[in-house]
């Protein structure tokens, strides 16, 4: 029982810090509401889909930015997609990078775009690691006989 309470407090604190530090926003809370007994791994599944999508888009953008003549419209279209999907899962930091990224695309600024691409990679890695920790904690709680606390 004590171990369980400890784990649950750890989870609550960790989740609170993710929100506080802007890794996730309210839309992530929405996702939690969509998870239940009939779809117990929903959040993990959507998040995985997002990371796959993100990787693919980043690779595409890198290729386009490597060209002699950069097709900024294409880059912009990829950024738009990434902005959309990051917003849909509540990946706030990534979404915010996309907003800056779009500005650089519109200004046809290759250096700015490359910097943003690097930032996206960085945020992607951080978020992935954070969410892995989150899911691990949740699994530990369930294994200890508890249930994952519902979000407010």
């Amino acid at each position: 029982m004590d171990v369980l309470s400890q784990l649950q407090r750890q989870l609550a604190d960790f989740l609170a810090s993710l929100y506080r530090e802007g890794f996730v926003d309210d839309q992530f809370t929405q996702l939690q509401k969509l998870q239940d007994e009939s779809s117990p791994d929903f959040v993990m599944e959507v998040v995985s889909l997002f990371f796959e999508d993100c990787e693919k888009l980043v690779n595409n953008m890198a290729k386009v930015l490597e060209q002699q003549v950069v097709d900024f419209k294409q880059v912009d279209s990829h950024v738009h997609q990434l902005k959309g999907s990051s917003s849909s899962i509540g990946a706030a930091r990534i979404r915010n990078v996309c907003i800056a990224f779009k500005t650089f695309c519109e200004a046809q600024n290759r250096e700015g775009c490359l910097r943003c691409l690097q930032q996206v990679n960085h945020e992607h890695a951080q978020l992935k690691a954070n969410l892995q920790s989150l899911f691990t904690l949740e699994r530990q709680i369930v294994a200890a006989g508890g249930s994952v606390p519902a979000m407010q």
């Binding site: 839309q27 969509l34 239940d36 929903f42 889909l49 796959e52 959309g84 999907s85 849909s88 509540g90």
Partner: protein
Amino acid sequence: MATAGEILRRSLTDEVGVSKGSVSGSEEFHVLAVDDSFVDRKVIERLLKISSCKVTVVESGSRALQYLGLDGEKSSVGFNDLKINLIMTDYSMPGMTGYELLKKIKESSAFREIPVVIMSSENILTRIDRCLEEGAEEYIIKPVKLSDVKRIKDVIMGGDGK
């Protein structure tokens, strides 16, 4: 006896189903969702399922028209069996935009009565006006929330119920 009880229960359910509103237990609220993003498709599907809707999700406007049998080819579903209560479509899609899909639906005598909701991450007034003028029920800003789905469903079902 079990059989008699079963029959009695079934007829009661039917009565209750009918008095509850236009959508009874056997007639689910069927939504056709259209979005080119994997992530958004997964989210919208779950949002709708959790809101007790039957969901069909497709990845493009042309797929949606195919499903509805409006593409000139034979539809995959029998015309008489197809009961769609709502169409929710993303605005920005490659090929056919949500706006273009909206127009095609409103031009069709078979489907023009079906409410169409446009979803978009962009809050552009001229775009919103254009969609509403073309007959969209609503234009909602992404990301779509559970409360959006509940509200839309209530509005549409409320309009139907007597």
